[in-house]
């Protein structure tokens, strides 16, 4: 193939190794075989030979197709959904598809990131084009062989047909020729009404491996000669390493070495995502995880103060003082909010609080690294492999092409693995110790090293006239590292007089993105507040919200409103119908828009031993086309349970800079008996290109929960966690 064709869109590039020739079958493919598929189709036999059509696709001589999943898999199930999109346009039988995780490969793949619920949204068109391009090449190969027009050919389930002459050839028979043909300038994509794979439920491609305990995760990676490493970071935010006496630890059996690393040395430019609160660490390297975790206890370490230690109680006072008196940045102002408040018949006001939250992925942070003079091999769970490679390149002063990163399936992400400090640390430990190592965090390391969901405080005020109309709306918020407010989201655009003010609180307790950043707090606060405003206005909470949407649909205020009011209102109307909402309904309702998707929920709760327990949730989602309904339902359910759990129980607090919760004995995650008994999810069918799904169901459920608690107790809960520590009364 001509090399001048490789400067197209990277998704369409042919791999350098193809050269039009055949690639021999890889033995490892057997182990990568999609067992779930094999189960569904026991006749699925691995091919003798594979042809690599492009970076995404290998076609076997027997028609079995390997599709690479480009993005990191954190449990959002893109490893099933992204290949489904390619398979749809390629027009193959899903039962003949094997899925493999792609490594970091910026030459051939774009945006290999798991973040912001954007994998499917950004991948939608490129993935479709990739499949369609390969299909085009296969058609062209058949046309060439049969000496007929491409227009007279059709495909179905991995076979090209020429109906005029009643001939057919399988993709496997055409692939080697197809791989030599020039890429088309344009391809035709399927009409969504012809989709046969997209929109049909497919099981998780890794499910069989998961339920049989096969190695999939970073923690499972083992290499010949590999040692384990355990790090010790300061126990207090605001401290750094002063000195270490490692004599005793070094002398323990099974200990290889003790090294001190600095993951943020002066003069080295790390990526934003890779800087942690505790860059200077002591690491014990040894034969197995338990040995190094034990040996750590024998280190004699002195810490020194680098900035003042903070406590939760003091921080709360500071946040309140800031909210009362601080000079804010005006993020949005419409009309004359001050005048409208002065003229109000009634003003509703409430302040909402939420604490720091650790991510608590079930698989703690870990990474394999093998650094030599020649290069660095990295393997592990990372949501941002490209950033990590840049940081490692800078730290090692090594060109990026000498650094490989393989992405393992991740035991949860929730934003934590956007921050690759543990990969950086593993790299530096391997270099310092001179051996391949795997760094494994203990749960305590994981829960106490920061990168938390920020602590937030926000105050809402609403002005009502004597007819119960909303005449002004004011939101003023602060949080560790920044404000939680999205100034242009609902109800901005629905009220003439509007003011959004941002404040920011500086803290040495480090923060980061946590599933649905900012939204994970502000949605619940806003939706609980609107419920209270609706009540003050004497209106049904759904009718009140829809009234505001009417204004945004018919006569929006301002031009920067960050939502489609009709789609937003529609999910709310639909959930009202699906849940059988009635006047004086005793359930909680909420609706929110984030990650380009719209979600509305109705939640029913009761008190069990004085604490709220959710029984049932109705949920309507508008995320455009649903690629895989099975996975989509699972994501929505998970977001709802995750949101309920953290709103009820989640908090990490601090005494003199020390996290008070360090493991699951003191940090409470939602458990089986506390999850809703039933979640009913309905997806709006509108044919719009797909949008985010991993995050959007979490934020509103916190508001729906707060509103349900109000219905059953008469108490407006505005402090998270809602469940602690007193009994509520029904």
């Amino acid at each position: 193939m001509a090399t001048n064709q490789t400067n197209r869109r990277s998704f369409l590039k042919l791999t350098a190794t193809t050269g039009g020739g055949l690639m021999l079958g890889f033995s490892y493919l057997t182990s990568c075989r999609n067992e779930q598929t094999a189960k569904a189709n026991p006749e699925l036999v691995m091919p003798e030979e594979w042809v690599s059509v492009n970076a995404f696709l290998k076609i076997g001589d027997n028609g079995v197709v390997t599709i690479m999943s480009p993005n990191p898999e954190i449990g959002q199930n893109v490893k099933t959904a992204m290949p489904m999109i390619v398979a749809e346009e390629l027009d193959v039988d899903w039962n003949n598809v094997v899925v493999e995780q792609a490594p970091l490969d910026t030459e051939n793949f774009e945006r290999q990131i798991a973040g912001g619920s954007q994998s499917i949204r950004h991948g939608w068109e490129p993935l479709r084009k990739t499949g369609a391009t390969a299909r085009h090449l296969l058609l062209a190969a058949a046309a060439q062989q049969w000496e007929v027009e491409m227009a007279d050919l059709r495909t179905e389930n991995g076979v090209v047909y020429h109906d005029g002459s009643d001939r057919s050839l399988g993709y496997g028979e055409l692939a080697s020729v197809a791989a030599t043909l020039p890429l088309p300038d344009e391809v035709t994509l399927k009409d969504p009404k012809d989709f046969r794979i997209i929109g049909n439920a497919k099981k998780n491609v890794d499910a069989k491996k998961i339920v049989t305990g096969q190695p999939l995760y970073g923690l499972d990676i083992q290499r010949e000669g590999m040692k384990y490493a355990s790090i010790l970071h300061p126990p207090v935010f605001g401290q750094s390493l002063k000195s270490v006496d490692d004599a005793e630890a070094k002398a323990l059996p099974g200990v290889h070495s003790v090294v001190v690393i600095d993951a943020a040395p002066e003069g080295v430019q790390l990526q934003w995502s890779d800087v942690n609160a505790f860059p200077k660490l002591v690491a014990v390297v040894g034969d197995n995880p338990w040995t190094v975790m034990q040996a750590r206890k024998a280190l004699k370490v002195e810490w020194e103060e680098s900035s003042p230690a903070e406590s939760t109680a003091d921080r709360r006072l500071a946040l309140e003082r800031q909210l009362d008196e601080g000079k804010a940045e005006v993020a949005r102002r419409d009309g004359d909010p001050e005048g409208a408040f002065a003229a109000a018949d009634r003003i509703v006001e409430r302040t909402f609080y939420a604490p720091f939250l650790p991510h608590n992925t079930m698989e703690p942070m870990n990474f394999f690294a093998h650094v030599t003079d020649e290069g660095a091999e990295l393997i592990g769970p990372i949501q941002t492999p490209e950033f990590l490679r840049k940081s490692v390149s800078a730290l090692l002063d090594m060109p990026e092409d000498k650094i490989s990163i393989d992405m393992t399936r991740m035991g949860g992400g929730f934003g934590r693995r956007l921050y690759g400090n543990f990969g950086v640390e593993a790299t530096l430990i391997s270099k310092a110790a001179g051996v391949p190592i795997k760094l494994v965090y203990t749960r305590e390391d994981d829960m106490t090293q920061g990168t938390y969901r920020p602590e937030y405080l926000v105050r809402y005020r609403a002005a009502l006239d004597s007819d119960g109309n909303l005449t002004a709306f004011h939101v003023r918020g602060t949080g560790a590292g920044g404000s939680p407010i999205f100034p242009n989201r609902y109800p901005a655009g629905t009220v003439d007089n509007y003011l959004a003010e941002n404040l920011s609180n500086e803290s040495n307790i480090s923060t980061g993105a946590w599933r649905a950043p900012q939204s994970n707090f502000i949605a619940g606060a806003e939706q609980a507040f609107l419920d209270e405003v609706a009540e003050a206005a004497g209106k049904d909470p759904i009718a009140f919200r829809l009234e505001l949407f009417d204004r945004a649909i018919n006569d929006p205020v301002g031009e920067d409103n960050d939502y489609d009011a009709e789609r937003y209102a529609n999910v709310l109307s639909e959930v009202r119908d699906k849940a059988g909402w009635s006047d004086g309904d005793q359930r909680g309702v909420a609706a929110y828009y984030c990650h380009n998707s719209y979600v509305a929920q109705v939640l029913e709760a009761e008190l069990v031993n004085g604490q709220p327990r959710v029984n049932e949730v109705h949920c309507v989602v508008d995320c455009g086309i649903v690629v895989n309904p099975e996975g989509a339902n699972n994501q929505i359910e998970g977001g709802i349970i995750d949101g309920i759990g953290h709103a009820l129980y989640g908090a990490v607090t601090f005494e003199n800079g020390r996290p008070q919760q360090q493991n699951f004995d003191s940090y409470r995650l939602i458990r089986h008996n506390e999850a809703p008994k039933a979640i009913h999810t309905h997806f709006v069918e509108n044919g719009i290109a797909p949008t985010g799904l991993g995050e959007p169901s979490l934020p509103p459920v916190i508001g729906a929960l707060a509103n349900a608690i109000y219905r059953i107790t008469g108490e407006r809960v505005s402090e998270q966690p809602f469940a602690a520590p007193r009994e509520l009364k029904g």
């Binding site: 995880p289 699972n634 458990r671 089986h672 999850a675 979640i679």
Partner: protein, 153 residues
């Protein structure tokens, strides 16, 4: 260090380790059976659940020296072909999201059903309560346990 004889998934295995080392790390790093997961190290999350003589136990808090006379079953040994009714029910309900906790969930569920083949909702909840799933797959886990119970009956 001591030489300890273990019965893992029906096989006799000999390991040379500190008897204080938790069974979890022996299984994972000495015997290379990595399906059993580390989650908390204090027996509070259930990711490390294995069967000791058929009973679900937390391998992260169990010194290997204490299990030498017992039969240990890990997720890899729950069934020969991954077709234990609980595993099949997990596939049917497409339970996993990240999947990391699911081996522990499955081992707890299998132990429950071997002792109580037809548990009611409260019994399922009580038994599964020690296993955390951060992704929030509890409703699917609950449904899968019920399906597995039906398969067994």
């Amino acid at each position: 260090m001591a030489t300890i004889q273990l019965t893992i998934n029906g096989n006799q295995r000999s390991v040379d380790v500190d008897p204080e080392m938790p069974l979890l790390w022996v299984i994972r790093d000495e015997l290379k059976l990595v399906g059993t997961k580390y989650g908390c190290g204090i027996g509070a999350c259930g990711a490390c659940t294995v069967h000791i003589d058929g009973i679900a136990m937390r391998s992260c808090s169990l010194p290997v020296g204490e299990v030498k006379n017992s039969a240990v079953t890990t997720i890899e040994g729950l069934s020969e072909n991954g077709d234990h009714p609980v595993q099949l029910a997990w596939l049917e309900h497409d339970v996993p999201q990240c999947g990391y906790c699911q081996a522990g969930q499955i081992m707890t569920a299998a132990s429950l059903l071997s002792n109580s083949p037809d548990p009611d909702d409260a019994e399922i909840s009580a038994s599964m309560n020690g296993n955390i799933c951060r992704c929030g797959t509890y409703t699917r886990i609950h449904a899968a346990v019920k399906t597995a119970a039906q398969k067994l009956s």
